[in-house]
């Protein structure tokens, strides 16, 4: 399966890779795509469609609480997640014919401020980190949330998903994962032996993962 016939009919692998290796650069030149069109490098140029100035600031703070910078990558805001969410709410309104998603997000942002004002006499964005944490800890684990907090837990689940989507589909998020494809591979070899060795170890010994415990596979 791994062996390769010499290519017949005159298309050599070398020619192929010279052609397709250049393709993305050529395509970018032809369409005028450039770093300026990549909004991760052009956050200043983004025109907001949904959030006002205060909501924008709140979303920036909230997204960075959800996905902060770490040793692998920058924060959600550095990866353009607030721009992604603003655009996504507008996009869903156009595609779905209603603004239910925007209502849920804007309503949740309003509650964050209302609740922070009630408890700490501040807006959520201006509150101290431990104050923000007190609020989020009530709504970030839906099963544990108090009955009266359930709408805000649902809101938080939604914006957490949007933040995760926006971050990990960005250039910075893809490098963080990392996703290593969308490129030409000279030879497909199947599952890497190092990866399979690890899977086999887990099959033999069992494995406790985030999604639960896997018992040893006995054939």
């Amino acid at each position: 399966m791994g062996d390769r016939m010499p290519d017949r009919n005159g298309v050599s692998r070398r020619d192929l890779f010279q052609i397709i290796g250049a393709a993305p650069a050529l395509a970018a030149a032809a369409t005028g795509a450039s770093a300026a069109q990549n909004h991760e490098h052009a956050a200043a140029a983004y025109k907001r469609k949904v959030f006002d100035d205060h909501q924008w600031r709140t979303v920036e703070v909230l997204c960075d609480l959800i996905l902060p910078a770490d040793e692998h990558s920058g924060s959600a805001t550095q990866a353009g997640v607030p721009e992604f969410i603003d655009d996504w709410l507008d996009f869903r309104k156009q595609e779905d014919g209603d603004d239910d998603l925007a209502a849920e997000i804007l309503g949740g942002l309003a509650w964050l401020d209302r609740e922070t004002a009630r408890l700490f006499s501040k807006t959520f964005a201006a509150a101290a980190p431990d104050q923000q944490k007190k609020i989020l800890d009530r709504i970030a684990w839906p099963e544990r949330a108090a009955a009266e907090d359930r709408p805000w837990a649902a809101f938080f689940s939604r914006i957490r998903d949007l933040t995760a989507d926006g971050f990990y589909s960005s250039k910075a998020g893809i490098a963080d994962l990392p996703y290593l494809g969308n490129t030409a591979v000279p030879e497909w070899k199947g599952c890497d032996p190092a990866v399979w060795a690890e899977i086999e170890r887990r099959m033999k010994n069992g494995y406790r993962g985030l999604g639960g415990e896997v018992k040893p596979w006995n054939g």
Binding site: G10, P24, A164, D165, L177, W188, V195, I199, W217
Partner: protein, 570 residues
């Protein structure tokens, strides 16, 4: 101004449609020396030049997400098409929720499709004889086998020889080795004695016919910039044009088969979408391959004093026994795949492994609650991240935020898997299309109205899919997620949703109970043929494109022979 003008030239053949069926007809007939005019309702398309290969979703609007205009996303090769085509509506009868996918572009749906290339087996041609439901085809597997060979050798299909029941092997290129998650799923399937074998896709793992081999970027749905997957323009149409015998007319929306007083076809009238004028192409032979439902629409709209109910429709069966494929899905999460060393897991644009139907003997012994089978398509791995891929993490984590949440998402990436059942629908009298008596499209052509119902066999099959997928996921130590319940008929797809519509002008042995004879030639009009999926008598779980190609090849060879024998001209 729009006006009627006739082109003086008379072609040997006019072919309507440039997808799998029209492409193979144009290819075989031009190579046999016929002068062919090919009509395509959409615009010109050359995937090798227009592919969005290697582009990134973060440079696309809304990260490349699907829209009403482009349901499969910004980079999908279908430039104009989908379940809604602007200005070209269709209607549903009360109680029907049919979805009709169309691709208005050169090559039609072959630009976008999943390249799954499965031969129908011997049982699939004689289903009525086997279980008393539906109808038998007028041909056998052996009749079509040589054309499956030819089709596979031209388009290029990878796979392995397995010798399994009713799952015929083909002329295969080497299959790509499985990905990690596919090996895990195979081991789980082995425990349950469900066969899991290398898939069979029309993607080149070696260079053939001057086309490059696959470079494993996994984005076949964007069209291939090096023509390494099967698509009608790159494989059928452009080589056919090199013969000098093929003229392609795009933006040509076929309206009617023109019939002479002798009852023979004289050509095709179409609307030139650019001028809105009506044009007639004269030809000695007409081949319809506009896609199953569009072909039925053209036949029903071709009314004359000789054929008041539409050409070829003396049986009243044009539009009848419309079928789609049964679909039902379950997604899963396999902890054993968490936090593995990062590798490029793209591979070809589609699954490297699949499960063919395995319960033929149990069904024969009367031990299954439904007739006919399904195969299982699988997905997963560290694929190109897009919107939606990182949602629902709380199902595993319970919630969270901050540095730990970020670490967890990174570990969870690549542990999701998906299972899709694709099963056989038995034709029924409640599923058909007809002309809507009052509605027309923007070209002034009466539109189709659909009627559609699943039967109990299909619904119980969907339940079996759900049960099976949950068992496999559980056997792999994972968690499953599905919204399917008895109330929603086990998540069965909407009619048309799987985009495998077939039937509507079925072939048969008897002019009273079929539209076409065993060579897909209209019983009522000997110079009218059909080479898309409209002639299908049943819809086996095997995806239709390879059978369209093989059957269209056989029909085209028959046309060429009959021309030589002078049996067709008026």
């Amino acid at each position: 101004m729009a006006q009627v003008k006739a082109t003086p030239k008379t072609y040997d053949v006019v072919v309507v449609g440039s997808g799998a069926g029209g492409g193979v007809a144009a290819h075989v007939l031009t190579l046999a020396g016929a002068k062919v005019c090919l009509l395509e309702a959409g615009g010109w398309y050359d995937g090798a030049k227009q592919s969005d290969m290697f582009k990134w979703p973060y440079n696309a609007p809304h990260r490349g997400a699907g829209t009403k205009e482009k349901p499969f996303g910004y980079f999908d090769a279908t430039l104009v098409g989908g379940w809604k085509v602007p200005g070209e509506p269709y209607t549903n009868a009360a109680g029907t929720e049919w979805k009709w996918w169309r691709a208005r572009m050169l090559g039609g749906r072959t630009n976008h499709y999943g390249r799954i290339s499965l031969r129908m087996g011997p049982y699939d041609f004689k289903p009525y004889s086997r279980d008393g439901k539906g109808f038998d085809w007028p041909i056998t597997y052996d009749d079509l086998a040589p054309y499956y060979d030819k089709a596979e050798e031209l388009i290029g299909v990878f796979g392995t020889k397995e010798g399994m029941e009713n799952t015929p092997d083909g002329r295969f290129l080497p299959a790509p080795a499985p990905r990690g998650y596919e090996r895990v799923i195979k081991m789980a399937s082995d425990k349950l004695k469900i066969p899991c074998i290398p898939s069979r896709l029309a993607i080149l793992t070696r260079s053939i016919h001057g086309r490059a081999a696959c470079h494993y970027c996994a984005q076949c749905g964007r069209a291939c910039g090096v023509n390494a997957n099967f698509n009608s323009p790159g494989v059928h149409i452009f080589p056919a044009m090199k013969t000098g015998n093929l003229e392609v007319r795009t933006d040509a929306m076929a309206r009617e088969v023109v019939v002479g007083p002798d009852g023979l076809a004289r050509g095709v009238s179409y609307i030139d979408k650019k001028t809105r004028g009506e044009v007639t192409v004269n030809a000695r032979i007409v081949v319809l391959a506009a896609s199953c439902c569009e072909t039925a629409r053209i036949m029903l709209n071709s009314r004359s004093s000789r054929f008041p109910n539409g050409v070829g429709n003396s049986s009243g069966l044009v539009g009848r026994y419309l079928m789609d494929t049964v679909g039902s899905d379950v997604s899963g999460y396999l902890p054993i795949l968490e936090d593995l060393p990062p590798r490029n897991e793209d591979g070809v644009g589609g699954m490297h492994m699949y499960m063919p139907w395995w319960n033929y003997q149990q069904q024969k012994a009367g031990k299954m609650p439904f007739a006919r089978g399904y195969h299982i398509e699988i997905g997963g791995g560290r694929g190109l991240p897009g919107t939606g891929d990182f949602e629902g993490s709380e199902q595993m984590l319970g919630g969270g935020y901050g540095a730990e949440f970020k670490r967890n998402l990174r570990k969870m990436y690549g542990a999701g898997v998906g299972f899709s059942g694709r099963g056989e629908m038995i034709p029924n009298a409640d599923s058909y299309c007809e002309l809507d008596p009052t509605r027309v499209d923007q070209w002034g052509i009466p539109v189709l109205r659909f009627h559609f119902k699943w039967s109990r066999d299909e619904i119980l099959q969907a339940k079996h899919m759900q049960d099976t997928f949950k068992e496999i996921i559980t056997a792999a130590g994972g968690k499953y997620f599905t919204s399917a319940t008895a109330e929603n008929n086990w998540g069965i797809s909407q009619g048309g949703e799987i985009i495998h519509e077939v039937g509507a002008a079925r072939m048969g042995d008897d002019p009273k109970t079929s539209v076409l004879n065993p060579y897909c030639q209209a019983w009522d009009c000997r110079n009218l043929f059909v080479t898309d999926a409209a002639p299908f008598v049943s819809n086996a779980d095997k995806n239709p494109t390879l059978t369209i190609t093989a059957l269209g090849w056989r029909t085209s060879e028959y046309i060429a022979e009959q021309v030589k024998k002078r049996n067709l001209a008026g």
